[in-house]
């Protein structure tokens, strides 16, 4: 009996570690959602597709025998530039038409890139090797790989970088001002269009990074963005959409919960649990765990 309990606890610890690693990836993707939503209140459904295009470009960079760090850079830049172009061509003209047309446009963009990806890259899944040679460390009954550790460390570094960027640089200050009040920021002489473009670039570049790190757990294919995008979006909402640390918190919660449910109960409920958490949070605290409540004004 006592031994069973011990095994159960070891299992839980293992799922917890896997969950933290996977949650880090969700967090990287969720950051893009949260930053874009924070600044123009748009749920960017095409975010998962930016990730997919980035990862694809990274894959072809690897095929061309470029070293891994260069390939990651290629992935980040291509995803970021794509996002800037999409923002300029599609989202900017639609912005003044209201939120629902913007949402439909985002969905249209997402569909476009899914099928565009199928036609140009082919529908077959492509594998990206882990970005460092995998080594597995044993701690008692628990296995931790250096890839998992590295993913976690990279996510933490990205978070620290974003915190520094938004609080200690001029452009970060402008981003915060724009997200607080777009018109007022414009009146204060901030070029809000430039700030919005920059936010899209940053968010999509992080998605591209996430896509490259993901080679460890899943393969890259044109339809991957849909499911992954929804998961990351759920993570962003759970943590409080528009709040940067919230995206990370939400990512970890979703990643850990998924791994615990898939490991201890049934893997087919993996997707269900994240939506369950989402609804629970929305009912208890609609603005998310770290979100601020906004009062309605007449």
């Amino acid at each position: 009996m006592g031994q069973n309990v011990a095994f159960f606890l070891w299992d839980c610890l293992q799922y917890l570690i896997n969950g933290i690693s996977q949650g880090s990836l969700y967090a990287l993707v969720a950051l893009g959602y949260t930053m874009v939503y924070g600044i123009i209140r748009l749920v960017n459904f095409a975010h998962g597709e930016f990730l997919m295009i980035g990862a694809m470009c990274g894959y072809y960079a690897l095929q061309a025998h470029l070293p891994m760090p260069v390939a990651i850079l290629v992935a980040m830049l291509s995803a970021g530039l794509l996002a800037v172009v999409v923002e300029r061509l599609v989202y900017r003209p639609i912005r003044k038409s209201g939120r629902i047309p913007a949402l439909i446009t985002a969905i249209g963009t997402s569909l476009f890139f899914q099928y565009f990806g199928q036609l140009t890259f082919g529908a077959d899944p492509k594998t990206i090797p882990p970005f460092i040679t995998e080594k597995i460390y044993n701690f008692g009954e628990v296995n931790v790989s250096n890839v998992q550790l590295a993913i976690f460390v990279i996510t933490m570094l990205v978070l620290a970088f974003l915190w520094w960027l938004t609080h200690f640089t001029k452009i970060g200050k402008a981003m915060r001002a724009t997200s607080y009040n777009l018109q007022a920021a414009e009146l204060m002489g901030i070029n809000t269009n430039k700030i919005i473009s920059f936010t899209f670039f940053l968010g999509a570049a992080l998605a591209g990074l996430g896509g490259m790190l993901m080679g460890y757990t899943m393969s890259v294919e044109p339809m991957m963005g849909m499911n992954l995008g929804i998961k990351a979006f759920v993570a962003a909402v759970v943590g409080g959409i528009g709040v940067i640390p919230g995206a990370a918190l939400g990512g970890f919660i979703i990643g850990i919960a998924e791994n615990l449910v898939a490991g201890l109960y049934k893997s087919s409920f993996r997707d269900g649990v994240s939506f369950f958490i989402l609804i629970l949070i929305l009912l208890i605290k609609p603005s998310g765990l770290l979100g601020k409540n906004t009062k309605e004004k007449v």
């Binding site: 209140r41 749920v43 599609v90 003209p93 639609i94 038409s97 209201g98 939120r99 629902i100 047309p101 439909i104 446009t105 969905i107 249209g108 963009t109 569909l111 476009f112 099928y115 565009f116 199928q118 036609l119 849909m226 929804i230 979006f233 759920v234 909402v237 049934k266 087919s268 409920f269 997707d271 269900g272 939506f275 369950f276 989402l278 609804i279 929305l282 009912l283 609609p286 309605e296 007449v298």
Partner: protein, 288 residues
């Protein structure tokens, strides 16, 4: 011939579905992204009746019962989801309904008795294209009358301004829940028709993408417009098929051309083809 019949059939089912979402989204202004879930609940519930509990009655009467079963099951799930969710607004409501829609689908996928991930087979072929268009016609008449009734006006006032309509004595929660439940129920009817014309159901028929497609039909036609919903459903069913015949590159790229057309339409006319208007231009014809 079968191919054209199938397209017409699907278009008819989508007319009913689009009208049902228009009640929630266009009339009441509650942004729902989980509508395919209700469609699925109606489809599966009616199929469970016809496969496991069918009474020895003529097919037409059994089909009526299946439709009622689909309506009740979907309406009940509408209440179940509406009561907690309708406290939320805007984007958050959309996300919560998205979550519930996906949960409904995951529950269906994990229930062995209704086929689980393999799909539900052996559903009797009780309905045909006449059924589909008769129901669509009933739905159109129902929606037009609803729009003119005091109930409908109360619902529309919620869309225009919640606070103002509450001040005028409209019970917000009651009317929102009403439109949500009836909308879900009508989607359930469309589900029953889908099940008994296709004779096969698969959970992936009811995933998030389909909720989005129904929503796009509503927005394309114009939120709050009955004519718009009918046109939106027909156009969005037929255009992707038409592109198939355009030959060569266009046929190969049709799934990328379709979203581009959608984006261009949104840029040119964000309120949809009809906006809130009906055919003939009047926004809300008064009872003379």
């Amino acid at each position: 011939m079968d191919y054209y019949l199938q397209i017409l059939l699907i278009a008819g089912i989508f007319i009913t579905l689009t009208l049902s979402l228009n009640l929630i989204n266009g009339f009441c202004g509650q942004f729902s992204l989980g509508h395919a879930g209700f469609w699925g609940v109606g489809a599966y519930a009616s199929a469970v009746y016809s496969v496991y509990y069918a009474l020895p009655l003529p097919a037409a009467i059994n089909m009526m019962i299946a439709i009622i079963v689909g309506f009740i099951a979907a309406a009940l799930s509408g209440i179940l989801i509406g009561v907690p969710c309708l406290r939320l607004k805007g984007d958050y409501l959309a996300i919560a309904t998205l979550g519930f829609g996906e949960i409904l689908r995951i529950i269906i996928t994990n229930t062995e008795k209704i086929g689980g991930p393999r799909g539900f087979i052996n559903i009797p072929h009780w309905a045909n294209i006449i059924w589909v268009y008769a129901i669509a016609a009933v739905a159109v008449v129902f929606m037009i009358n609803l729009k003119r009734s005091s109930f409908g006006r109360a619902i529309i006032s919620i869309r225009e301004d919640e606070i103002a309509s509450e001040n005028m004595g409209v019970n917000l929660f009651k009317y929102k829940l009403f439109s949500f439940t009836i909308g879900a129920g009508i989607a359930g009817i469309a589900g029953a028709l889908f099940a008994h014309t296709q004779q096969f159901l698969h959970p992936s028929n009811f995933n998030f993408m389909w909720s989005v497609i129904i929503l796009v039909m509503v927005i394309l036609g114009g939120q709050g417009s009955v004519t718009g919903s009918v046109v939106g459903a027909i156009v969005l069913t037929i255009v992707p098929e038409l592109l198939r015949f355009a030959g060569g590159n266009i046929a190969a790229w049709r799934m990328t051309i379709f979203p581009v057309l959608l984006i261009l339409l949104m840029l040119a006319r964000p309120q949809g083809i009809f906006g809130p208007h009906e055919l003939g231009g009047s926004k809300l014809r008064s009872k003379a």
